[in-house]
């Protein structure tokens, strides 16, 4: 039971300090005038959310609703200001694709580098290498440094590594927007395959209504940091569009 992935957020609030341009030139006048130097922004307000193993959850909301902040909290790179979060299971984030790449290194070297960043060990990467290369469909370019790749090719490689990382929680943030339709289809099929394994969690952020409707059974709608809807796909977009 303890091996199954699980995400639980209770009363999570995340505040950011907006400091504007943090230069001395601006600090000094604001100190003299007595204005508060930093402005506070609440990205998430008392969010309660539980995601069980086997669920595929779409996160929907307008820009600035707190979707990415929520992803970062789940990925464990940022922490709640108040409230509790517990995440069980290894996370493979597909946020800001290619983050773990180095553009001077070639495709093969980047498979190892990015795999390691996603928490894979050497043996694991080696055993998955062929699958990664095959899935990416760009084998003949892999000996070139990554800077010679097109954006779509980098995305293909990044996606291939991430879905073969054998993580338990996949965070997907608007990534399908890049590749061509053929590759998008291939990705959705792969994600469906992951979904069917039933011991995974997929959290999916997208503005693409069709993709969300096709792919998720449950949708969480965020609005200015609050969860305003959590349930079936059908009603989710009514709520979303009313906002």
């Amino acid at each position: 039971m303890s091996n199954l992935p699980h995400i639980l957020l209770s009363n999570v609030t995340k505040k950011f300090m907006l400091q504007g341009d943090r230069t001395f030139k601006e600090l000094l006048p604001s100190l003299i005038k007595g204005n508060s130097w930093a402005q506070e922004l609440q990205a998430l307000k008392k969010v309660n959310l539980e995601i069980q193993s086997g669920e595929t959850v779409g996160i929907v909301g307008h820009n600035g609703a707190g979707k990415s902040t929520l992803m970062k909290l789940i990925a464990g790179v940022t922490y709640p200001t108040t409230g509790e979060i517990s995440v069980q299971g290894r996370v493979a984030p597909l946020i800001e694709l290619g983050a773990g790449f180095h553009y001077e290194l070639n495709g093969y070297e980047n498979i190892y580098l990015n795999g390691a960043i996603l928490g894979m060990h050497k043996e694991k990467i080696e055993s998955e290498k062929e699958n990664i290369i095959k899935f990416s469909g760009i084998k003949k370019f892999l000996h070139e440094p990554l800077k010679r790749f097109s954006t779509g090719m980098v995305m293909r490689l990044a996606f291939s590594i991430a879905v073969h990382a054998h993580a338990q929680i996949y965070l997907i943030d608007e990534v399908l927007a890049v590749g061509d339709s053929e590759f998008q289809q291939q990705c959705l099929e792969k994600l469906n395959e992951i979904k069917r394994e039933k011991d995974k969690i997929v959290v999916f952020i997208s503005h693409d209504e069709q993709a969300v409707q096709h792919f998720c059974e449950r949708v969480v709608v965020l609005d200015t940091g609050k969860v305003i809807y959590d349930g079936g796909v059908k009603n989710a977009f009514d709520v979303y569009h009313r906002k």
């Binding site: 790179v77 800001e96 983050a99 190892y112 390691a116 960043i117 928490g119």
Partner: protein
């Protein structure tokens, strides 16, 4: 505490290894002589310093000046290069900080390890010079390793601190360059310690690099080893490391928010 300290070296060993490789491989890509720069850089520095301080100024040294210089210049280059690069390392890896969770100290550690490998390679010139000047390797040369260990601890402490601070205020990287330049001139790298006036000597030796640099020369050339200076360096280094590590770990949780 000890568990947190060792975690990146055990559970994230492969990531650390990959980041070290990236640091080394990527640096000299699209360059013709590539890794050879690691040797060429100190070599050309040596020629300049030898001309200025051995031929123009005629500093009195117990061994030929190029040897005297290299015993200090190579470890100094390691310290300077590591601190400069490590200070920028977190800023440079900002996307990584926002994307994936792992113990953040792996990033500055990978810089330290990569630069240490550079150091080993560039030390080949030193070995070559020892043969060229027919200076024998003494058994005390083995004491180089504890000295080097202390230096790494010192570098790690400073790197952890500065890399974290630099995420908050980029002034740190410019300040670091300035301080490193001053620091080099208050350390006996290009000149012998004997030239420092007696009345300043106590104050001068507060610099932890004095004990380390003079220690290298002592064990390599069979001169008197100043144990007090070395112990002082070791104490300062360990304190700096502990403080640096604690500060780093304290700030770590906010890295993704402020980068």
């Amino acid at each position: 505490m000890l568990q947190t300290l060792m975690l990146p070296l055990v559970s994230h060993k492969y990531l650390l290894l990959q980041l070290i490789q990236r640091e080394i491989k990527a640096r000299y890509k699209q360059s013709i002589i590539g890794y050879f720069w690691v040797i060429l850089n100190p070599l050309s520095q040596m020629l300049v310093y030898t001309f200025v301080f051995s031929i123009v100024f005629k500093f009195p040294t117990s061994v030929p000046y190029p040897l005297f210089l290299f015993a200090a210049l190579l470890p100094w280059t390691l310290l300077q290069g590591t601190i400069t690069t490590a200070t920028n390392s977190l800023v440079y890896n900002d996307i990584l900080l926002k994307k994936v969770a792992f113990p953040r100290e792996i990033i500055p550690y990978s810089v330290i390890a990569a630069k240490t490998i550079d150091f080993v390679f560039s030390s080949l010139i030193f070995v070559f010079l020892m043969f060229l000047y027919k200076v024998p390797f003494l058994p005390t040369t083995l004491l180089f390793f504890p000295l080097f260990f202390v230096q790494i601890i010192l570098i790690a402490g400073i790197s952890l601190c500065l890399s974290a601070f630099n995420l908050f205020y980029r002034d740190i990287q410019y300040l670091t360059n300035l301080v490193l330049m001053i620091w080099m001139y208050i350390t006996p790298v290009v000149y012998p310690l004997a030239l420092v006036p007696k009345e300043f000597l106590q104050l001068y030796k507060l610099n932890p690099m004095v004990g380390i640099i003079e220690g290298y020369r002592a064990v390599l050339f069979g001169e008197r080893f100043d144990l007090d200076s070395f112990l002082w360096s070791a104490i300062v280094s360990v304190i700096l490391f502990v403080v640096g590590f604690l500060i780093f770990k304290r700030l770590e949780k906010t890295f993704a928010d402020i980068v």
